[in-house]
């Protein structure tokens, strides 16, 4: 890793504060947001920065999440660097506009303090909200802790605003577990952050006047943005979005390496973050903060001679198919933990994606699904250890008794 030349400042911040602090350093032009638990600290903190003149940002305190994301789309289309944050019902209210954001190729950065969806009403952490937006055309990155939340926000602007990507990006943090938990966060100097992301650049496009100009609303170069595309063009627009996703696949890895040189911190290759997986026979695949708890268990299992590992999926969109295939090539049994459900489906989002990715792999471990933590239900290290016990049994017998387990549930 890196030569630690840049002096970093250690701050005690929870995940939400770390996000607000990163946004402050990124010289964002427009923040449009609406408060919702557990995202509120982000907008509160940022409002303080605005009130104290610590940022040059136009803060638009909208009347709904729908208008928050819409104002970000419009501001982004006008050329501004934009940020918003939401969770749960707020993200669901944005649903319609999330597709517009990606379709219009506006690189909005959105922090999601992941929270359960109603009903019943529940303000606590799970991944139901952002998993429901899986196909909205946004890049999805999930952080493991407050430090990664801070780092990922900075990286997010560089990834999303890359002209070959030009797609919006979610940075997910587990509600309360990350959003409200005080941690040590190493922060870069503001000028270093700003140099790292640079100013926003724009793809060059051909207008109806026959001019090639930056893709934004500009009275000097009139452009029709958000047109109506019929059967003859709509499909090509959507296919181009997929091209942006493919480019993001590379860009996320590049930015992860560049950032490592700067800060000394990296998260796997940016897409996946394996832990003691090289010689592992059994492993858990998971997203978010649970990976931190699992590390404690894996360390303990290793002292007992059990070859256990973790594969944390950091980037869920674009989904790192090849990396996952490669990472699981020597494993015997794998459990995929999902903090969301797909009622009526087989397992949930992450499980389906992983199994799908491995269908044509030369070697396929046995893969089982564990649904857990819905509505913020806690899973203690002792609880989670039972999953590795199950995996050891499956690896030994060569078969799983059941595909889907509702973990930590009264049944």
């Amino acid at each position: 890793m890196a030569q630690q030349q840049i002096k970093q400042t250690i701050l005690a911040m929870n995940g939400d504060e770390a996000i607000a602090y990163a946004v402050k350093q990124c010289d964002v032009d427009v923040v449009a947001a609406y408060p919702i638990t557990p995202q509120t600290i982000i907008v509160e903190k940022f409002s303080e920065y605005v009130a104290n003149g610590e940022v040059q940002t136009q803060y638009v305190c909208t009347e709904s999440e729908h208008s928050a994301i819409t104002a970000c789309i419009a501001a982004g289309a006008t050329g501004a660097r934009t940020f918003t944050a939401s969770a749960s019902a707020g993200l669901a209210l944005m649903h319609e506009m999330l597709f517009v954001t990606s379709g219009a190729r506006v690189p909005v950065v959105l922090a999601v303090a992941n929270r359960a969806l109603s009903a019943p009403l529940n303000i606590h952490g799970d991944h139901s909200d952002s998993m429901a937006e899986r196909d909205s055309g946004w890049l999805h990155i999930y952080a493991e802790n407050a430090q990664e939340a801070y780092d990922s926000i900075i990286q997010a602007f560089k990834i999303a605003e890359d002209v070959d990507v030009s797609l919006p990006i979610f940075i997910g943090v587990d509600g309360f577990t990350i959003s409200h938990t005080l941690e040590r966060v190493d922060t870069l100097p503001e000028d270093v952050v700003r140099r790292f992301i640079g100013t926003r650049s724009f793809p060059m496009v051909l207008t109806h006047e026959g001019k090639t100009v930056p893709f934004k609303l500009d009275p000097a170069n009139p452009m029709t943005m958000g047109p109506n595309a019929l059967q003859n063009f709509y499909y090509e627009f959507k296919r181009q979005q997929e091209e942006g996703m493919r480019n993001a696949y590379k860009k996320i890895q590049e930015v992860n390496s560049e950032y490592a040189k700067l800060s000394g911190r990296s998260y796997g290759n940016g897409l996946i973050d394996p832990y003691k997986l090289d010689d592992a026979e059994i492993a858990i695949i998971v997203i978010g903060s649970t990976a931190g708890t699992l590390k404690v268990i894996v360390d303990q299992l290793r002292t007992e001679g059990i070859k256990a590992g973790i594969l944390r999926i950091r980037t869920f969109r674009p989904f790192p198919v090849d990396e996952i295939k490669n990472a699981l090539r020597n494993l015997k049994a794998v459990a995929v933990m999902d903090k969301s459900m797909s009622p009526g489906g087989l397992g949930a989002a992450v499980f389906s994606e992983v199994r799908n990715a491995l269908y044509d792999a030369a070697h396929r471990p046995i893969i089982v699904s564990y649904i857990f933590g819905l509505g913020g239900r806690d899973s203690s290290p002792n609880d989670l250890r039972r999953i590795y016990d199950d995996l050891a049994r499956i690896a030994k017998s060569g078969q799983a008794e059941k595909t889907v387990t509702y973990f930590g549930l009264r049944e």
Binding site: D29, V30, A32, Q56, T57, Q58, V60, C61, T62, E63, S64, H66, S67, T70, A71, C72, I73, A74, A75, G76, A77, T78, G79, A80, T82, E96, M97, V100, A104, T199, H208, L217, D218, P219, A220, N221, P222, M223, T224, M225, G226, P227, N228, A229, L230, F233
Partner: protein, 323 residues
């Protein structure tokens, strides 16, 4: 705001290049298409337009063609005012930071009655409360015409639409038109006005005044729709005139809440004998045809009475707000 009265002449209009260009796919006799073309004649400099989903959004932006000669953004149906908020916020801060040219850019949000009275009302109210500097133009053709003539909360009482059809039991829409300008005035807006394309000088002048306001301004433009109203395409301008003459849609403007009648309506206020009967306005429109039957005749009388009462109320409001 500036108290300057803008006088537009036919010469001015002819001299200014169109910004809403021909070749769009609006129907013959489309009121809103004329309205958009006229509005764009009153712009005063660099301008960005944003538009809600609807007939006028569809007809002018079918990729790879466009009718818009200025920067234009569409995102969704309920979002015209939120778009304007984002554009204005971006322009303001980027100008301050020197990221764009240091010049004022006007922002115009366009929406039909569906995108204003109904699905867009929340975003509009929010944007106005926040005080963004933009002109919101409502082109009101009294229904969801783009999706096939369904009723909106702007559709007048008695009108037959595909979701308020005149049946053997129910005689068209039973509910009154929502008083949208009262709602906007209640926000304490600096400029709220009504207009119609027949009185085009009045319309252009009001667009310009709305743009001059340093903050949100609201313009309600009455825009006949031959398809939705089952009226003759050639009579769009006639209905734009009759609506004013019958006091169904009086013309006025309110600067800082002070409502004043505009000339075409003031003429009627001063010479009430010039006021046309409601029947003259309703009769040629297919959407009201079922009212002219013996069993429904009373509805015409009721609408006439309600129209008269609204007109009297407006006269009182304009008197009491005399400077």
């Amino acid at each position: 705001m500036s108290t300057q009265e803008w006088k537009f002449t036919a010469k001015d209009i002819a001299a200014k290049p169109d910004l809403f260009l021909s070749g769009h796919r609006a129907c013959a006799g489309c009121g809103p298409a004329t309205v958009l073309r006229l509005i764009m004649k009153a712009t005063r400099g660099p301008t960005i337009v944003t538009q809600a989903t609807g007939c006028m959004e569809i007809v002018g932006s079918i990729y790879p063609y466009t009718s818009w000669a200025l920067p234009w953004l569409h995102t969704a149906f309920e979002t015209a005012a939120a778009n304007a908020s984002g554009i204005e916020a971006a322009l303001k801060i980027m100008r301050k930071k020197g990221k764009i040219k240091d010049e004022h850019v006007d922002v115009i949000a366009l929406a039909g009655d569906g995108g204003t009275y109904d699905i867009g009302l929340q975003a509009l109210s929010g944007a106005v409360e926040r005080g963004h500097d933009f002109l919101f133009v409502l082109y009101d053709n009294e229904g969801y015409m783009n999706t096939g003539i369904q009723r909106s909360s702007s559709t007048p009482i008695g009108a037959s639409t595909t979701t308020s059809p005149a049946g053997s039991v129910i005689p068209g829409k039973l509910e009154k038109k929502k008083p949208i300008t009262d709602i906007m005035l209640a926000h304490g807006m600096e400029y709220v006005a009504t207009a119609t394309p027949y009185y085009w000088k009045d319309l252009l002048s009001k667009v310009r005044k709305g743009l001059e306001v340093d903050g949100p301004a609201f313009l309600h433009v009455f825009s006949p729709c031959p398809r939705g109203w089952r009226s003759e395409p050639a009579k769009t301008m006639e209905y734009s005139k009759l609506a004013v003459e019958s006091c169904v849609f009086p013309l006025w403007e309110a600067v800082n809440g002070n409502r004043q009648l505009s000339t075409p309506s003031k003429v009627i206020a001063l010479a009430p004998q010039k006021k046309k009967s409601l029947k003259d306005y309703l009769e040629g429109q297919g959407r009201f045809r079922h009212l002219f039957t013996p069993q429904n005749n009373h509805i015409v009388d009721e609408i006439q009475q309600a129209t008269d009462e609204r007109w009297q109320k407006l006269l009182r409001q304009c008197q009491t707000s005399q400077p």
